[in-house]
């Protein structure tokens, strides 16, 4: 366990990049290219149907095969990068945003508020992510927006928990106490000392979180609550492939591999940034 109050620097993070970290960084960059310029890698139309080519196995013409309407799976997986990763990013943003509010309120507020919020955060953290997300989706109705909001809200308690511990460690540290004794105003202490030292370590946690959020949101799509087919989103593609699992394995394997590779790369990178810490 390293000193919890020391802020890791960008240079230290790069120095820690071992071979696995370098590979992960390259994979993440490739994913970013696929998300921003999908046409560069797969020039076709992800929605173009070709009924005569339906359920064709992988070949040179269709690297990953085709689906039940003859749409090219490779094109769909590449074009699915932006929505899948974007949804994961949005959900993580909501989760961290809500976690920040809860964590700062709890860590810096009066003792009574901290005691109450601390308990609520623990209870919310105890509720399984997907169970809580389904509760929200049941009330809000299905759709991409609802799935993002549900996963964001369901992951917020985890971030709030980390932030609360972090805020308390930083707020009780020597330099913050010194700044207070010097008569520095509270807002200035918060902006100059507490906020930067709390938020910077969050980068690693957030990177880990994006990988997890992509998996969770695609789980909702797989269950039929998120993005609906035929949109090229990885979870929705897996949902469509479920019926054909015994006849057209390529419909399930390739979109799933995209999720596994993305989540693994982000996890390895996140751990490096977080300094080898876990979770």
């Amino acid at each position: 366990m390293s000193n919890p109050v020391a802020a890791p620097s960008l240079r230290a993070a790069f120095a820690r990049l071992r071979p696995a970290g370098v590979v992960a960084l390259v994979v993440v960059l490739a994913i970013l290219v696929a998300a921003v310029w999908p046409g560069l890698i797969a020039p076709g139309d992800p929605l173009a149907i070709a009924p005569t080519d339906a359920l064709a196995p992988p070949s040179l013409a269709h690297l990953f095969g085709t689906d039940e309407s003859g749409r090219d799976i490779f094109t769909r997986v590449v074009h699915g990068t932006a929505p899948s990763v974007g949804i994961g990013l949005a959900a993580t943003g909501i989760g961290i945003g809500a976690g920040l509010v809860l964590g700062f309120a709890s860590g810096l507020g009066p003792k009574a508020l901290d005691a109450a919020l601390g308990r609520v955060i623990e209870v919310l953290f105890a509720l399984p992510t997907l169970v809580m997300a389904l509760l929200l989706v049941a009330v809000m109705g299905p759709g991409t927006g609802a799935a993002v909001l549900a996963i964001g809200a369901a992951t917020a308690p985890g971030y709030a928990r980390i932030l609360r511990a972090r805020v308390r460690a930083v707020a009780g540290s020597g330099y913050v106490e010194y700044a207070r004794l010097e008569g520095t105003r509270r807002t200035r202490v918060f902006l100059r000392h507490i906020a930067p030292n709390t938020l910077w370590p969050l980068v690693g946690v957030a990177t880990l979180g994006i990988g997890q959020a992509i998996v969770w949101v695609s789980a909702l799509s797989f269950l039929g609550f998120g993005t609906l087919p035929p949109s090229p989103e990885w979870g929705a593609m897996l949902n469509a492939g479920r019926v054909y699992i015994s006849t057209a394995w390529w419909m399930t394997i390739f979109p799933g591999l995209a999720i596994v590779v993305t989540a693994t790369a982000l996890t390895v990178l996140g751990r490096t940034a977080a300094g080898g810490g876990r979770r």
Binding site: A115, L127, G141, R242, T252, G256, T264
Partner: protein
């Protein structure tokens, strides 16, 4: 007295769960626009005049907001979950019928995850030299991939290999049929096994360097004896403490796995409820999942007591741990 305090802390956390779930539902219903519509199955529901009147009455929708909130809190708190809108049966009966199947699945998966994690940690601990380093490195990699692997994909791959291609195991599962349970349990166990293995590998290395291990070795204890009699018990404590949380995430995974293997259970009930926007059923399922979690924490406390004799000598610690677990 200590037991009483500990019990109070646990009952308190159960009540807190009910309060939190109710509050989320209440505000989410309000945010969805028309709560009446949400309760009766979303826009375009074919609810008859009578159903509308009943729902308005039971949820007190013509009453002031605060009263509506207290009414919902009272009903959920006393487990009067009402009737499922879509199935026209008491929610509590529906859940009671499906709960054992899910608990069986999750418990078997946790047991398998522990077995896999223990094997992984012991292999990593006992492998030495260049070959051993390679083994440890690949175990590390496998742990990460196992942890991030989406269960809906892992399960699909297992079905593809063992059911569609080899045809040795069925792709569907129900009840306690042993052959049908294999694939769902493995699918559920692997991510948790990766998570537990990481923790156990670290704590085993820590225990290995602890003074008691050095002493035992100086007295001539063999590697095997050291592992079985000293370090393994020590190393399993952090993993045991996190098993309660792991069980919760298994219930989350059960939602996916039960859908994938067409297995009846609480997860399927929750999915169907969410799909049909059957709010009373979903509230019931979520509250029951949360209560199961509280019960699992109690069992976890008892197991820790069994494994760690230091806790038995200082029972006060348990009380403190119970406080920590509920977030004091």
């Amino acid at each position: 007295m200590r037991i009483a305090r500990w019990a109070l802390a646990r009952i308190g956390s159960a009540l807190l769960v009910v309060w939190v779930v109710t509050t989320i539902v209440f505000f989410a219903l309000r945010a969805s626009g028309d709560p009446l519509e949400a309760i009766l199955g979303g826009p375009g529901s074919q609810a008859g005049e009578e159903a509308v009147a009943v729902a308005r009455e039971t949820y007190g929708l013509d009453q002031p907001l605060l009263w509506q909130y207290l009414l919902l809190l009272g009903r959920v708190g006393t487990l009067q979950l009402g009737d499922s809108y879509a199935r026209r049966q008491p929610v509590i009966d529906l859940i009671a019928a499906q709960l054992p199947s899910t608990l069986l699945l999750a418990t078997l998966a946790l047991a398998l995850a522990w077995a896999l994690a223990l094997c992984g940690a012991i292999i990593a601990r006992t492998s030495r030299g260049p070959a051993g380093r390679a083994v440890t490195a690949s175990l590390r990699g496998a742990e990460i991939v196992a942890t991030v692997m989406p269960q809906f994909w892992l399960g699909a791959v297992l079905i593809l290999v063992f059911a569609s291609t080899l045809g040795v195991l069925p792709a569907t599962s129900s009840g306690a049929d042993p052959a049908g349970l294999v694939l769902p349990v493995v699918t559920l166990a692997i991510p948790i096994a990766g998570f537990l293995a990481q923790i156990m590998r670290d704590s085993l290395a820590e225990a290995d360097a602890a003074p008691f291990a050095v002493t035992a070795r100086a007295r001539g204890a063999s590697d095997t004896r050291l592992l079985l009699h000293h370090t393994l018990r020590h190393a399993s404590l952090p993993a045991l403490a996190l098993s309660g949380w792991a069980y919760g995430s298994l219930l989350s995974g059960a939602v996916v796995v039960e859908t994938l293997f067409a297995r009846p259970g609480l997860g399927r009930l929750l999915i169907d409820g969410a799909m049909q926007r059957d709010v009373p059923l979903v509230i019931g399922a979520v509250v029951v999942v949360a209560l199961v979690y509280v019960v699992v924490l109690v069992i976890g406390d008892a197991l820790e007591l069994l494994v760690d004799p230091r806790l038995r000598r200082r029972t006060r610690t348990i009380v403190r741990q119970a406080d920590v677990a509920v977030g004091a």
